[in-house]
Each structure stands twice: as structure tokens, then as C-alpha cells.
Amino acid sequence: MLKKRDDFEDILEERRNCSDLRYALKCYTPVVYKGLTPCKAGVLKNMVLQSDQLHYVINQVSKETGKAPEDVQEEASAILEEMAHRMQLSTVRFFAFTLCKVFKTLFRSICVNEEGIQRLQQAIQEHPVVLLPSHRSYMDFLLMSYILFTYDLALPVIAAGMDFMGMKIVGEMLRMSGAFFIRRSFGGDKLYWAVFSEYVKTILKNGLAPVEFFLEGTRSRTAKSLTPKLGLLNIVMDPFLKGEVFDINVVPVSISYERILEETLYARELLGVPKPKESTSGLFKARRVLSEDYGSIHVYFGQPVSVRSLAEGRVNRCQFNLTPRHIPKRPSDDVHSFVNAAAYRLVRAQEENMVLKPWVLLASLLLQNHHQDLDQDRLTEEALWLRDVCRQYGAFLHWPDHVPPSEVVSSSLDLHRGLVRISEGRVPAGPSGPGVHPGAGPEEQLLNQAVVVLSCASYRNQALHVFLRPALLASAMHIATSSNKQEVFNSFSFLRNMFSNEFILCPGATMQDFEEACFLLVKTGVLQITEQEVLSTHRGHRTLAFLTRMMDPFLQGYQVICMFLCEEASEALTEKTFIPAVRGFMVKQLLSGRLRYTEVLSSDLQKNALAALLRLGAVLKTKGADQTTLKVNRVMVNSLEDTLGKKPLQHLWFEFSS
């Protein structure tokens, strides 16, 4: 189960010893895709504007709207102008210099797997390359370009959201360092889509630069991987499927932050404090950030994945034989399901190579500890236990074995002192940061507490993918009515289905996931599985309890939402009012002590739950003139609530409060 992973190299180490300026001005001669002729930004724009694809759509739009083709062409040109990158080496060098300074202040180290870099270098020469980094911070894409510049690799062009454009100067500078900007939503805009997709494909097909984008679409505020977005992945796979290139290499990149810059920002956002608009001044206000210690970053360049081998036997490429390839077509069902499956596979590849720091384990343990203050020795003991479990599950854990465990724990707690207070060697029950003022009102206190809890949860979430399948099995055993294997499987399948908007669970892989969970838990002596039954062993109790508790906040969260929908939701409930209404309901429940997990206040969980209920048909959307109302199927929601809780909720609360 333990996978061989590459070793890391700290790229900041050299920077601390020699001139940043010389580094930024170094000779930069990246290897390029074979047969590449260098291409100016203007040439690229012309290639796009003169492509058959775009011509076709321009004529189509012109016919549909009655506008003159020249006018539509103008529009296309303007869209391209707004979108296109204008990479300039001088700007890149400026960033390289500045980032050196910033990184050295913020981080202890930036560790990169050099073997991954070598593989990438090889891949760039062979076929067009797509870089797919995980997305947890604004830092991500600057960091990526910084690393590639450091290693003398071709700088990528990066798909960035338009919101960056709000930051006037910075936006332009990002553009000059390779970012191109896409509007957040352009659903029905044919012309926009055509310009955009042709722009990306032209860069890719000609191997002009690696194309980089975030499969998750946006920064994950919870540190859980997000359900992959398929739009751009569809675009970059298209040239292969249509035979325009022999193959495309897709490289998943896992960026793990020991401490995320946006930590509490995210938590506030999840609790409903609106997200500050990206603005240059906002970024500079963040200067306070510069005085803090954010630990280290690990960047792991995964194994390049050949799109050709992914598609082998899954997509019949002959389907493109009968229409001219420049006519845009909706992806067929098999292409769609292929791209979807590939997307999940790639997100999982990102997850697998995420480096977990000891703090992730501590956060997981602290979140489960509601009863008493922990003394640090006890916490250390538990962390060591969890470390071993983690390793058995094949996690990519960076636990410094040469340092005494107690030091590992205390230095982790110290780095995250904003989230945990330690007094006299004791860690108080549950996470509690300095933000919790006893003088504030109960609701405010609750929310302040929630900020800390959600921040901690975001660290626990980094390890979720390691435990997810066993944890679903543990919870399934808990809610199943017997230990009968089929029943446990049914419960597992139910939970998996219920939570498939919450976690990365590949569609159609229920059986595989079940088997993987069984395999891990049997291997580690937690379960015994016979033909008929799934039984827990005596020594497996601790693990099962840990795993079940890990899932509990999610189960309870979904259950409370079901309860809300049955008991409180009015006929006038709309998509827009759903989150505030649920939040209000939850706050009441929490304050009255009938609900344990403050974590359920996360709007991410609430949105995911709603998406799941819509998917399952327990809630129906009706589009009205100006708003979308939600219609609740009470019978179904009720039964989901029961299944999630197995026992009536009251009973559970009793358990929790005893």
C-alpha cells in the first residue's frame, strides 16, 4: 500500500545563500516542445482569430443575431484582447525577484520533488503538457511559475478568473507573467466559448507553452478537494481526441501548505462573512501576514498522465470522423463520462501526493475531543497512534522521526497557536483560539468559536482522503441494522451516494471503494470479514471509533439539514434563502445545546447537502420569474434523515452530552 514517492529538495535554501537579483536575472533557456517555433503574442492572436473554428462560430452568430460578420469578428477580437496573456520575461524576472523576498519571509522552506521536475522536463519535450495544480491559496499559481522559472522549465500560461482583473496593476502584471483571464460564467455565450476554447487549444496544439489550470475551478476553502470542473479539461483533451496531436501529458501537482495564508479568511467566508473583493489594496493590507510564520510548502509534481493511455479502450475516436472537426459539438456521452472519470482520477492523484504535516493529525484529534482538557502527553500518545494508522493507510505523512515526538507536537501546536491555546501543558477541550472572548454575546461567541473550529477542520480535511473509505465503512457499520455483509454494503453505498458531493468519490466505483475500505481495515486488524459478515475486532475498536467520529460532523450536518427541511422550511424557501435559513436554524440548535458540531455551520457543507438532496430528488427546484424556489419531498427527506441517524436524533444527543 505504501507507495514509493520521490524525495524533496528545498529551493529556498539556495536563495538564502546567494543573490536574489542574480537569480532573477539568470540565463533562462527552457526546453521546449519539439519542432516549436517561438511565437509572439500577436501571432498567437492571429492564429486564433483566423482559425476555422472561430470563423464558423462567427458566421453562425452573425446569422443568428443579424449582426454583420465583421462586427462579430470585432467582438471576438475584443474578447481575445481581454483574455489573452502577454507573457514578458522582464515581468517574470520581476516576480521572481519579489517572490524570493516574500517567500523567504513567509515560509521556512519550499520543498519540491526534483524527480518530478525531471519527468516534467521530459514530458514537455515529448507532447503538449497540461499542468493541474491543486488550489488552496492565491499563492498557488505564482508559486508554480516561480518553481518552473527556478528549474529553467517552460513557463505555463494560466487560466485565471476575471476577479483578478479587479486588481488593476497586479492583474496586468499577472497577465505579463502568463495569466490569461476568463469570465466566471459565460454559459450561453457561444462566441466567448469559441474564442476561449480556440485560444487554449491553439496554445496547446502548437506546444507554445504548458497550459495550467485548476481542475477544482476555485480555491478550496475547506482544504477538501472540490468536485472537478470539466469545462477546461474537455477543451484540453479535445485536440487529442480529434487527432490534432498525438498525445497530451497531464501532470497533476499537489501543493501542500503547512499553514494556509487565507486560513481564517476562509473560515469567515464559510460562516457567511462575505468574501472581500480581490483588490490591490486588500492584498497590501495583508502585509501583516508577512510578519508571521507559515511553515513550509511541499510541491509534488506527479507522474505525467498520458491522455492517450487514459482514453485507450474508453473513447472511440472514430466518432469525430463524420463531421468537420471545426464545427463545435457537445461532447458525446462516452466522451463526457471519460473526461469525468479522468478528472476524478486526476484529483485523486493530487490528493495522494499531498504532504500531511503532524499538525493535520493533531487537528483531527482535537476536533474529536469534546470532553476534557487533554494533557500534552496524552495528545502525543494519540498522535503517535494516529501516525501509525496513517502510515498503514499509505498516507504521504511528513513526521520527522528523528525529533522526539513531544517536540514534534509542541512545535506543531506552536506554529498554529492562533488556533489552539496551551496552558500549563494542557490543551483545552476542543479547539479554541484567542478570538473567543467570554464577554461577547452567545451567538457571537458561537461564531467566533466556529471560526476556529472551521480553521482546524480545514487541516483535518487535508487527511480526509486517507481515511475517507474506511471511515465510510465504519459509519456504514454504525448505521446498518446488522453486521450482515450485504447490509453493511448497502449502508456504505447509501452513505457514499449521499456524500458524493462532499468528498471525491469517483462515479461508479462503489464496489472498488468498498473493497478498498475492507482491505485496509482487515489488513490493519480492525475488521474480520467473512462470506456473510463484517465484524469488528477487539483491538479495532479504537480505530473504528476514530473513523466514525471523523464522519459524525458530516452525518449530523446532513441530518440537521433534513430536519430543517421537514420541520422549518416554508413554502417560500428559495435557493438564495436556503443558506441563511439553515444557518439560523443550526445556530438555534447549537445554542440550545441540541447540536454538538459547530462545524455544520460551514456553508460548504450546507451547499453540498443541498446539491445531494437535489441530485437524489428529495428536493426539487422550480424556476420562477425572478427566483428559484425549493420544493421539499418531505417523505423522502424524512427517510434520509432517519437513515443517516439510524436512531432518532434525541438518542444521539443523549450520547453526545453524557
Binding site: G243, E244, F246, N316, R317, C318, F320, R325
Partner: protein
Amino acid sequence: SAFTSGVSLESSPNTMEHIKCPILQEIMKWNGWGYVDSKFQFNKKGQAEFTGKRYRLSGMVMPALKEWFESTFGASLQHKTPAIPNSSAVQPPILNEAFVEDLKSTGIPFSQDAEDRVFRAHGHCLHEIFALREGKVGRVPDMVVWPSNHNDVVKIVELACKHNVCLIPYGGGTSVSSALECPPEETRTIVSVDTSQMNRILWIDEKNLTAHVEAGIVGQELERLLNESGYCTGHEPDSMEFSSLGGWVATRASGMKKNIYGNIEDLVVHIRMVTPQGVIEKSCQGPRMSTGPDIHHFILGSEGTLGVVTEVTMKIRPMPEYQKYGSVVFPNFEQGVACLREVLTLITNVFAGHALKPQKFYITKFKGFDPNRLCVATLLFEGDRERVLQHEKQVYDIAAKFGGLAAGEDNGQRGYMLTFVIAYLRDLGMDYYVIGESFETSVPWDRVLDICRNVKERIIRECKERGVQFPPLSTCRVTQTYDAGACVYFYFAFNYRGLSDPVHVYEQVEHAARDEILANGGSLSHHHGVGKLRKEWMRETVSRVGMGMLKSVKDYVDPGNIFGNRNLL
């Protein structure tokens, strides 16, 4: 003859007189391409030469060939893999005695001689020739019969039906689709119907410019005879020295001058075929008919599964007044393809043919062009002198727009000549651990470059994955152009030292290459046909319903599967 007298032949001692009708068989290799006297070889000085007197290249020494051969394949003259001089174990014939008796009474010549049977048991696929060179022979026909006219064929087919004997029509034996391979599971007597004696021009109609010809005639003979009367068909497939008119019809052949004269389906006016249900033909020679689906198209491409084509009326034309070769060098393949496309849209009639080949070994250097990327187009113009010259200029002007430079008549003529000797090169390679083959497809214009790139790359990739120790030769050329697309040839060869089953590796790679062709919008075949080699892709190529249509024709025409070569379906 390749068979020494020491080989024991299994025919019974009291066989009927051994009739030696075949002419070509006497002068052709039994385990390689072409004439016995013509081949590439390395002389004592290690220089390549081409033997014999038949070709312009014959008797010439080519010092550059050795270097090209060694550097392209990593081959060495020290490592030889000579062919085994004879074949030992030919299975004794399975004879349907009643059929043999009845056949004897017709007086049509036939033979059970092992040499005759082996000669007609194969085409020229790599695996077929490779096996022969190793002296391996599988299922072969049990008898060979030589009808001398249409009526003989009628009699043979009647007897075959009466006695349930399997017939396999045989023309020039140049198939590259395993079409001539005897199905190993066939238990009936297999009779090879060799049409080579049906080789006369029956009449020429100068008013309508048609000729009525027996289908066994070989291409070069047909042209020679017509030329005597001042005519030509203009149908010149690369195999025209050996392939027959009947074979062209049965495989939907294409010739290099098709831009002027058309492909075989454009050239035939009337076809006569003998089937188990009787003779199929049209009642008149109208130049075009609207009488339901054209029954010629059941025959064209039927690959010997429905009957024997016996006589064909073909269009003929006066021999061209003037002929001129030419060639153009392009800086790269992309420019060359773009140019051909343009030429085609502007010029018709005079531009007889061309071939566009990257990295050819007869032009390796050209001023200012990257030798690794340059590409050569060979051209042939035919017609009245004035128009030829006029169009020649037009073509070179267009070529110039695409960076092409005229490279002279000689290079053009050499290019055409090479078309005929290139097949001999494979035999040379096979003497030195190098095996290879060419295969073709047709593809819409917009996909030509993509398919070339991807298939070449796929071949290289597959070779690597299957343990081929040396980088393979993987190249291509555009040999035919149409309004809507082009015919593309792929050449693939590699040095197989270190491989235990090189032919299997070869076949796997070719299979993968064909998958790649289909995935890139290429056809299953432009003119080689399906045979048994490409059967597995037929269904996806013509659809389930299409298959059903073809099957129902077969079921009606030949319910007893007398024409049991099992090609196509």
C-alpha cells in the same frame, strides 16, 4: 526453378500429364517479389547493385544504398538472414476424385504439382513471404486449373458446384491482404483457378474507344498490346507488371495516373463474371445507366468471394502525344501537401499523377532546405504538347507559392521508376534482419497531416513497447489526390535482431497502426482491399446493415460457399 528436384512431391505417380502452362511462374521468384533475375544485392565490395536487365536501374551500382541501409536500420552486412532455398513439407493434396475425373473429361489443363500449388498459395504480405523464406508452407491449394476462356470457367464452376469443391480465383498473385491464403479450416478440395491463360484482347472498338479484354491479362501486357494499336488504358498500379485485370476489378484497384484516366471503377464499361448461380453481366454497353444500384459494384471489390471475372470491356484512349516528368522539392511535407491540394483545385486533365514523399533517398540534399524535413513531389504530365507545357508551368508556379523548387525531369523519372523497384528492396532487407511493409489508406484533406504524424508516431511507439531494439523506419507519402482527400501510404520497416518472433511483432504494430488510421478518420483501405488481413474492421467500416447487405448478396450468389477464400466478410 526454386524447387530442386530433390524435393519429394506428394502427387501420385500416375497423375495426368503435367501441363506447364504458366509463363510468369517460370521467371518469377517463388519466395520474394518479382523476376528471378532482378534483385538488390551487396556485391563483394559491399556496394549495392541491382541485377538483371529489365529495369533502368538494372546493372547499376548504388554506393549510397549501403550507408542508407545501415544508418536507417542499424543493419549490418555481417548479419545475414538468407532465405532457405526450398520448401520441404507440402501437404499432399486433398482430392475430390469425382471432380478430378469430370475435370479431366473437359480437357482443361490442371496440375497437382507441389510447386504450382505453393506458388498460388500466397500473396505478398510480409508474413507470407517471411514464412516462405523460412521454408514454411501452410495449407495450399490442392490443384491448380488453367481455364483458357470464359466457357472453361463456366465448366469449372459448374463442376465445383456439382462436387462441392472450393474455388479460389488467382490472377497475378500480388495481393497484400492475405486474400490468397487458403483458409486452414477448409476440408474440401481447394482448386486455384489461375486465369493467366485468359490473356487476349478480344476486340477493340475505336468508335467508342473501348476494348474487350479477357480478365487474366497482366497489366504490362495489356498496355503493350494496346500500344501496338496506338491506345492505352492509362491504368498503371504499382504492381502492373504482374497484377491482372480481373484482380483489379476484384479489389477496386487504383493506378498512379488516375487523375487523368480514373480508377478501375471509372474505366470499366462492362464486366462478365461466372458465379455458382450463373453468369452475371449487363445487357448493353451504355456509358452510364440508372437501373437500380449498379451491379458492377457488387463485383468490384468482391475479392473472389462471388465468382471469377472472365471478360471486361474497358475504356481506352489514344496514347498521349507528349509525356513529361518533373519534380519539385519542398522545404517540408506540410507545404508539399498544401501545394498538391491547390494544384488539384486548379488543374485537371493534364496532371497525370504525382507522389509526395518525405525524406527520400534519391534526393537527400537540396540547397537551403533542411535535409531532415525536405520532401519531394514527382510529377507526370501527359497530353498534347502545348497543354502539357502550359500546365507544367502552372504547376511550378503554384509550387513556388509553397516554397517548392523545381528539381528536374530526371528526379521525376527516377521517382516513377523507383515505384517499380521499391518492392524489391524488401527482399534485400530480409536478407539482413530487416522486415517491413507498406500499407495505405485514404483520408479527407484536412486530416492528412494529422494522420501522417499520428500513425508514424504510433508505429515508433509500438515498436519501442514491443521490444524492437532499433529505431524503426516509419514514413509516409501521399500517392493519390482527390477533390475530397488523398491516398496516403505508410512505410514501416525495422531491424529485428534480438526478437524471437519478429513477424508477430510486425503484425501487432501494423494492427495498432491500422487502429490509429481509423481513429484519425482514415479508411480501412484505399485500393489494397480487405482480404482476410483487415476483415475484423469491416463491420465498423461499413456498419452492421452494410455487412448484412454484403452477406445477403454472398448468400444468394454463392450459397454453397464454393468461392470459399473467406475474404471480406
